[in-house]
């Protein structure tokens, strides 16, 4: 079934609620409730991965995969910096904190773009860490 035409100049939230929820949970996982929001996101994806409309599935899949890659790179590289550089080395802190803050902020900004795409009923692919879009 083709997507309905939306009047983006007048409608508050034309996008599908499931897609908006997925992108919101991605952001909540990064900012307010790490872990908990990710679990809810995975449950949502698992329950709707086959039945949801294509647009909602796109956002669910993107956010789950991006959370896994993003979280892995965020925590993994930070831990590696401290393990390689040493916990008592000030330069580990300089590199580790700067990496964490910048990468974390970048993930949030990707999420903001994803949330906007979901709100406006458009598909989205997270740059680099998101799976390829299926036609």
């Amino acid at each position: 079934m083709p997507e309905p035409e939306h009047d983006l100049l007048k409608e508050d939230l034309p996008g599908p609620p499931l897609a908006v929820a997925a992108e919101s949970l991605f952001l909540v996982n990064l900012m307010i409730a790490p872990g908990l929001a990710f679990v809810i996101l995975v449950v949502l994806w698992w329950r709707h991965r086959l039945s949801a409309p294509a647009l909602a599935r796109n956002h669910l899949k993107q956010t789950v995969v991006a959370s896994l890659w993003g979280g892995g790179l965020l925590v993994g590289v930070s831990v590696a910096v401290f393990l390689l550089g040493g916990f008592a080395n000030p330069w580990s802190w300089v590199v580790g904190v700067l990496y964490f803050v910048c990468f974390h902020a970048m993930l949030i900004l990707f999420g903001v773009i994803g949330l906007n795409r979901a709100m406006l009923a458009r598909p989205y692919r997270f740059p680099i860490i998101g799976p390829k879009l299926v036609e």
Partner: protein, 460 residues
């Protein structure tokens, strides 16, 4: 421009840009003083340069806010300004008083300036950001009252919109909280406690309302999105800003002698303070992505999007970085604070003022948008200033982390000045990033003088 009286915004914007240039000149001088301690000593010592740098920032942003109000309130209220003459009179009074104050800082030593300007009658000077002499502070109040009278009367006789109400609320709040600069109790804890009612409740309270209203106004104009959609966002943003920002003041009360419960209140509420800035980022992107037509002023759209992103990074992310009490115990007053301050002011307030200037200035000069060439140069200035500000922030953050470690965390803590030697390299890098910022600013000013085929103003 729909109403002729909107033109009073023009001198305010020109003054704002002029003072912005002054601020950056003193910023560069200080950047150099960090690495070449004797530079300009004793003519302009570091403490004076810093005072001029921060005071110019505040004054030019106020010029920008007032110019913005004189431009957007008549258009929102759909009526001419109550008194354009009063607006112009206040402009000259504010400009002359501001210039005299800066000259006072530079030409007279601070103690003498205090003596000359009646500080013995009511002592209000000597406090960071509120260094202005008593006479200047009284002048600011008079200008603010006349300005608010003018703007409020305009609104009362015209249409009342959410944007103009939020803008007015923010501006009244700005004036009311400034009154605490006259309260200077002998008890240092109380002094600091109320000092933050000016400083914090401005930048993390009422200024956010002004910023959100200005951004909403420009976004309506450049995207064509329905007013109702934008107004709903505005309600959400200002609610978030006030709920988090007011009690968030507590993050300044951690180690100054206030009761310990402020560590909890301050930590919890200020940890939520990035949310309104986050909402503004979503808001800006959402509105720009909704547009059906390309507005001829692409530069204004870029400044608006930049405001959303950079305010979130500077005020939100870099604020959160050191806002929790256990973290702040180590980072308080270090270069991490300076990093946050630079990016937050640039992202939130410098960019929003430049956004409205970018939108309104061509209209004030009789065209819908500047020529393509002028806009390209303007957009170059955006990228030069923004990227260099990101680097200034990163270098200061790196300096701050190292400073905290060497001075406060290490088992063998080093004295302050020895630590400054250790982080000298970052100060040099910050200075070069500052030079690029200045190049960006010169590029910005140049963009106003570039001719070419501009988009004509279509009048009904």
């Amino acid at each position: 421009m729909k109403y002729t009286s909107q033109s009073v915004a023009l001198p305010y914007f020109i003054a704002a840009i002029g003072l912005f240039v002054g601020q950056i000149v003193f910023g560069l001088a200080m950047g150099l003083q960090y690495v070449v301690g004797d530079f300009l000593f004793p003519e302009i010592p570091f403490n004076v340069a810093r005072m001029v740098h921060t005071n110019l920032l505040i004054v030019w942003l106020l010029f920008g806010f007032m110019g913005a109000a004189y431009y957007l309130i008549p258009e929102e209220a759909e009526t001419e300004l109550y008194s354009p003459k009063l607006a112009l009179l206040m402009f000259w009074i504010f400009l002359i008083a501001g210039a005299a104050t800066i000259l006072g800082y530079l030409l007279v030593d601070y103690a003498t300036l205090a003596e000359m300007t009646g500080n013995n009658i009511l002592a209000t000077m000597g406090r960071e950001f509120l260094e202005q002499p008593l006479l200047t502070k009284i002048g600011i109040v008079i200008v603010a009252l006349a300005f608010l009278f003018n703007i409020s009367m305009t609104m009362l006789k015209g249409r009342k919109t959410v944007i103009s109400i939020v803008m007015l609320l923010g501006l009244w709040g700005l004036a009311i909280f400034f009154l605490f600069s006259f309260y200077n109790p002998g008890n240092l804890v109380k002094d600091k406690f109320y000092w933050w009612w000016v400083v914090h409740l401005w930048v993390e309270g009422v200024w956010e309302l002004i910023m959100a209203a200005m951004l909403a106004f420009v976004l309506i104009k450049v995207t064509g999105v329905d007013r109702e959609v934008i107004e709903k966002w505005l309600y959400v943003i200002i609610t978030l800003a006030l709920v988090t920002g007011l009690i968030g003041t507590g993050h300044h009360y951690f180690w100054i002698g206030t009761p310990g419960y402020w560590q909890w209140w301050g930590s919890i509420f200020s940890a939520l303070e990035p949310i309104p800035f986050f909402a503004m980022t979503v808001f800006a992107f959402n509105m720009v992505n909704r547009r059906r037509r390309e507005h001829p002023n692409k530069a204004a759209v870029l400044w608006a999007l930049g405001t959303g992103v950079m305010a979130f990074l500077g005020a939100g992310v870099w604020g959160f970085l050191h806002t929790l009490a256990p973290v702040n115990f180590y980072t308080h007053g270090s270069q991490i604070t300076a990093a946050h301050g630079h990016m937050a002011f640039y992202g939130a307030y410098v960019l929003v003022v430049l956004t409205i200037i970018s939108y309104a200035m061509p209209l004030l000069r009789g065209r819908a948008a500047n020529s393509q060439r002028a806009q390209v140069v303007e957009m170059w200035s955006f990228w030069l200033m923004t990227i260099s500000m990101v680097f200034i922030t990163l270098f200061l953050t790196a300096a701050g982390i190292l400073q905290v470690w060497l001075q406060r965390v290490s088992d063998t803590p080093m004295p302050f000045m020895q630590v400054q030697d250790q982080i000298n390299l970052f100060y040099w890098m910050r200075l070069w990033a500052g030079v690029v910022f200045a190049v960006g600013l010169v590029t910005y000013v140049t963009s106003f003088f570039i001719k070419g085929e501009s988009k004509p103003l279509i009048t009904p």
